[in-house]
């Protein structure tokens, strides 16, 4: 029994002289892992068009009923995304979200991606609802913002690249 006590104290003593593992958040922020699932982002193609086509499959997949999508129709004069349909409203209630990533799995265009940001705090419930404007990423350097006026007949596929069977 005495031996055990010495062993325990030895562990304590050893750690006393090792550098601490805690970080001084928020002064210091630890990098997150590759597969970390943080706050969602709505992605864009390189030309600036939104990847989201407003199909609401994310909302259907979401176990927490956190996502709400309303779709509208695209035209070549006012194009948000390829194909006929785009999300005119896209909201995620971060208070409901359990960061399971099902929405990302359900998305046919890889438009919604759980990214690395985890700093989510709000003063009231309403501000926990992230709107499309808050979720969508900035326009890439060579792209244009949406809605775009585009040449007719080019962006008529909602899911631009389908893969052949392998």
């Amino acid at each position: 029994m005495f031996g055990e006590i010495v062993k325990g104290l030895y562990t304590t003593l050893k750690h006393l002289f090792q550098p601490p593992v805690t970080v001084q958040y928020p002064e210091i922020k630890r990098p997150v892992r590759n597969r970390f699932k943080g706050r969602h982002e709505l992605k864009r193609y390189e030309n600036g068009l939104e990847k989201c086509i407003g199909c609401a499959l994310c909302a259907a997949a979401c176990p927490a009923d956190a996502i709400f999508v309303e779709a509208s129709e695209n035209s070549d004069e006012k194009r948000f995304s390829p194909g006929e349909r785009y999300a005119s409203t896209y909201e995620i209630n971060m208070m409901r979200c359990i960061f399971c990533g099902y929405c990302e799995d359900a998305c046919p265009t890889q438009a919604i991606v759980l990214e690395k940001s985890y700093e989510l705090s709000f003063y009231d419930r309403a501000s926990a609802i992230y709107t499309k404007e808050m979720l969508i990423v900035d326009v890439p350097v060579n792209g244009r913002s949406t809605p775009q006026v585009v040449e007719p007949g080019i962006f008529n596929r909602a899911i631009p690249e389908m893969e052949d069977p392998k």
């Binding site: 086509i53 407003g54 199909c55 609401a56 499959l57 909302a59 259907a60 709400f68 309303e70 779709a71 509208s72 129709e73 194909g83 006929e84 349909r85 005119s88 409203t89 909201e91 046919p108 265009t109 008529n156 909602a158 899911i159 389908m162 893969e163 052949d164 069977p165």
Partner: protein, 855 residues
């Protein structure tokens, strides 16, 4: 077992079905869903898609003796032939053995799916059908899960093809089943879409101008087994699984069409639940699985930005917002002050509960019988109570040997669902007899299309009725005698009557004459028998209910005659002008806007209960904001006297209240006691007061049973996307003739005075501007009926008008402008459509307007 039943076995389960049944239907009866695409139970089979391939075997017989060949164990030997057969085109035969789960069948299904998908766009994420798509569902169930097709070889076609303003086509998604084309041709009788090109390039094209010109176009989107056809209303509106279906009824026409509104809460609407689409709900005795485009697309008025949201009270000459308490106090006080000089008119779109409480307020609260419909066009509710179509009847049962008489009505424009069902009846062999002032669309299906001279409708109908008593051989050159012979030999007899070109009194005579026609037949009449009786073509969805509830100067609820009749609507309007009527309550009607009342006249007090600030509301002292039909519950009674329920679907607009609630609260203030708390409780009082409604309550009205064909379940591929009815089939009340003897009606001889001159007859058009349609018009905009005056060539020459001229039309003191059409009117009659109601046949003055040259 009857001779007409055939017994076969499907996957080892025995089933007996009538002779002539198709294999897919027989299997369906026992819950074996053979997948189909092109077959639809309401359409003729064509066998185009091959999805329904199954193994069909027949018992073998000895060639010499004709005896069935038996196996060693005594079971019949079955010959399955060499290939699979299409279950949708093969009729059952005795001893037939069908196998639907074998390997060859599964293989065939997978092959057909793979073939259909060779050029299918895989649009499911953005496709409006995704989630309720037969192709999607059957691919999941029977498809291989992978494809041997190279994507680059897919045929790309146009994805955005408007087939008119209401329906859009995606050519890539079409699987060429022709359901839409066949529906328009076989069911709707409007073959306005068709196939164009051949093979892989086959595509749907519209053949009409304007595109897809049919009152039924929306139904093609329900039965299209893919997302190729979508409506302008629902395109990209929501995913089907997000919608909440709520059962409702048509707010427009007296057929009582069953519908489902699909709602969803929306961020754009501030979190309110809104209507995303209107779909048919199956009721085989009412509208089967079809609804007209008016029912489908004219619902936006409920969510219109023009809706009244709070009570308004006139102060210093201006209508200003007020609290409910204030407004109700003013109304109750002023109505009581008016003493006996109080009167009430109501519209006929409101529910039975609303109308009943309106009647209670006047008869019990204000002790007045001055109660009427604001715009009664058609008389005869009391006659319908005697000889109305018998309960349990179904227009679908009419066929060979049966006769339908239609008087003074253009059903295609007034109640399209009846037009559709009568067309079907005619195709089954029923004889249709029409009697109108001019040709209508139904004439095409009629055995006898009779005409009367304006003003002589009653005399002509009397001739028909009298002659049908006479036994003849049916051979006659006189059209009336020939028609009378047909009517006289009718198996079942159903008579419709409307008000086209008739005065109110004339409609009453017409109703009585038709009642006599139903009663006579050598003392053993048609009246009271199933599939026989009278159907009034009421102008609105609940005119029948208004009659039942006693919205009439001389009937209390349940057609109890009153000892002392009150003023009718016209007397009230005159009284308002002259000052004998002091206070007027207008419930859901717009007599000023309809030209029935010339401003508020000398009224001391005018209260209007409405959804919109109509012309009458703008002239009122108090305006009470009422809810639309989708915000509250209630019951409507259709013209076949079927009482049906509808349910609340969307969030109420502003501070509006249900009509019955408002009336109960006014009633409380005039001393009628505590207001009712629920529509179902009001209905309980209705049932107590209206003896015909005995035995009904909200629960019994919500009863339903499985209907055939089976639609809307898991197998959307069979019947389409119409909703299954799980919210109630309603109950029909029993006409007097069904339970006892009804005497003949006296119809006074009316002297026919033929005055010289051109007579004006107002004809109906489905999309005639009115309060509801005008507040929902965006979609139908280009299709709205414009004022049009039709003249015969001779008459047009006489008045100096050419086709396309703008004309000014004056009759009955009313003046309207219209565009002239020459050629499609009988001589001596000027037909006007697209305008508010004009009763009777008035002599008309026509003046050509100077064309304004458009630069």
């Amino acid at each position: 077992m009857s001779d007409d039943l055939v017994t076969l076995s499907v996957d080892g389960v025995e089933v007996s079905v009538p002779k002539g049944t198709l294999v897919v239907d027989a299997a369906k009866k026992i819950g074996n869903d053979i997948p189909v695409f092109c077959y639809h139970p309401k359409l003729e089979p064509v066998g185009m898609c091959r999805m329904c391939l199954v193994e069909i075997g027949l018992p073998m017989r000895d060639r010499a003796t004709g005896e069935p060949l038996l196996n060693e164990d005594g079971t019949p030997q079955i010959n399955f032939g060499r290939g699979l057969q299409t279950g949708c085109t093969v009729q059952v035969s005795p001893g037939m053995v069908v196998r639907t789960k074998t390997d060859p069948v599964e293989q065939a299904r997978a092959d057909v799916i793979e073939f259909l998908l060779t050029s299918h766009p895989l649009d499911c994420p953005i496709c409006d059908k995704g989630g309720e798509c037969p192709l999607q569902n059957l691919t999941m169930r029977h498809g291989r899960g992978n494809s041997r097709m190279v994507f680059a070889d897919k045929l790309h076609m146009e994805k955005h093809v408007p087939l008119g303003d209401l329906i859009f086509l995606d050519r890539e998604r079409c699987i060429q089943c022709a359901r839409c084309v066949r529906f328009q041709d076989e069911v709707a009788g409007d073959p306005v879409i068709g196939f164009h090109n051949r093979g892989r390039h086959l595509e749907i094209a519209t053949l009409s101008e304007p595109g897809f010109d049919s009152y039924w176009s929306g139904n093609t989107t329900d039965i299209c087994p893919v997302g190729a056809l979508t409506t302008a209303d629902f395109r990209f509106g929501a995913r089907p699984w997000e919608l909440t279906p709520v059962a409702t009824l048509s707010p427009h026409c007296p057929s009582g069409s069953n519908m489902t509104v699909s709602t969803r809460r929306e961020a754009k609407a501030g979190g309110r639940s809104v209507i995303k689409r209107v779909m048919p709900r199956q009721h085989e005795a009412v509208n089967e699985i079809w609804i007209s485009d008016k029912d489908r697309f004219v619902h936006h008025f409920a969510e219109s930005a023009d809706r009244l949201t709070q009570p308004l009270v006139r102060k210093n000459g201006k209508l200003v917002a007020a609290s409910w308490t204030e407004a109700l106090d003013v109304v109750a006080g002023k109505l009581q002050q008016a003493g006996t000089a109080v009167a009430g008119v109501s519209g006929d779109r409101l529910s039975n509960e609303d109308l009943f409480l309106f009647q209670e307020l006047f008869r019990k609260g204000l002790k007045s019988n001055n109660l009427d419909l604001a715009n009664g066009r058609l008389a005869g509710g009391d006659i319908v109570a005697q000889v109305g179509i018998s309960s349990g009847s179904n227009l679908k049962d009419l066929g060979k040997g049966d006769v339908v008489v239609v008087v003074a009505s253009d059903l295609h424009e007034e109640v399209p669902v009846w037009w559709l069902r009568l067309k079907q009846a005619a195709e089954r062999g029923a004889a249709i007899v029409t009697l109108n002032v001019r040709g209508t669309r139904l004439d095409k299906y009629a055995k006898h299309a009779l005409r009367y001279v304006p003003g002589e409708a009653v005399a002509t109908l009397r001739q028909l009725v009298n002659q049908s008593k006479v036994e003849t051989d049916g051979q006659s050159d006189d059209p009336i005698a020939a028609a009378a012979a047909t009517v006289g030999s009718a198996g079942n007899l159903v008579a419709f009557y409307g008000a086209e070109g008739l005065t109110y009194d004339e409609t009453e005579s017409v109703a009585k004459l038709l009642a006599n026609l139903l009663l006579l037949k050598n003392g053993d009449g048609h009246a009271g028998k199933k599939n026989n009786g009278l159907i009034p073509v009421w102008p609105h969805n609940n005119t029948q209910g208004a009659w039942d509830m006693g919205i009439h100067p001389s009937f209390a609820p349940g057609y109890k005659a009153l000892p002392e009749a009150g003023l009718d609507a016209h007397a009230m309007y005159e009284g308002a002008a002259s000052g004998t009527v002091k206070a007027l309550y207008v419930l859901g009607a717009d007599p000023i806007g309809d030209g029935l009342m010339d401003g508020r006249g000398k009224l001391d007090f005018l209260v209007v209960q409405e959804m919109f600030l109509t012309a009458t509301a703008a002239a009122a002292d108090v305006v009470l904001p009422a809810q639309s039909w989708v915000e509250r519950e209630g019951t409507f009674t259709n013209a076949e006297r079927r009482v049906q329920r509808y349910y609340p679907a969307i969030t109420p607009v502003g501070d509006s209240r249900a009509d019955w609630q408002i009336l109960a609260q006014v009633g409380e203030r005039v001393g009628l006691g505590k207001p009712a708390l629920a529509a179902s409780l009001v209905f309980r009082d209705v049932v107590k007061a209206v003896k015909q409604y005995k035995g009904m309550d909200y629960r019994s009205l919500a009863k339903y049973e499985k209907q055939w064909p089976d639609v809307g379940g898991d197998d959307l591929y069979y019947g389409g996307n119409a909703y299954e009815n799980r919210s109630g089939l309603g109950q029909q009340w029993v006409a007097a003739a069904e339970s006892g003897k009804v005497g003949m009606f006296e119809v006074a001889e009316t002297a026919v005075k033929s005055s010289p001159g051109l007579k004006l007859v107002r004809t109906a058009a489905l999309y005639t501007p009115g309060t509801l349609i005008s507040h929902s018009a965006a979609l139908l905009g280009p299709r709205m009926a414009q004022p049009t005056l039709s003249l015969s060539t001779a008459d047009a020459r006489k008045v100096g008008v050419a086709d396309g001229n703008r004309v000014e039309v004056t009759a009955n003191g009313m003046t309207m402008t219209a565009t002239a059409r020459v050629g499609d009117a009988p001589d001596g009659v000027a037909l006007i459509s697209g305008v508010a109601y004009v009763p009777g046949t008035a002599v008309v003055q026509i003046r050509k307007l100077q064309e304004e040259k458009v630069a």
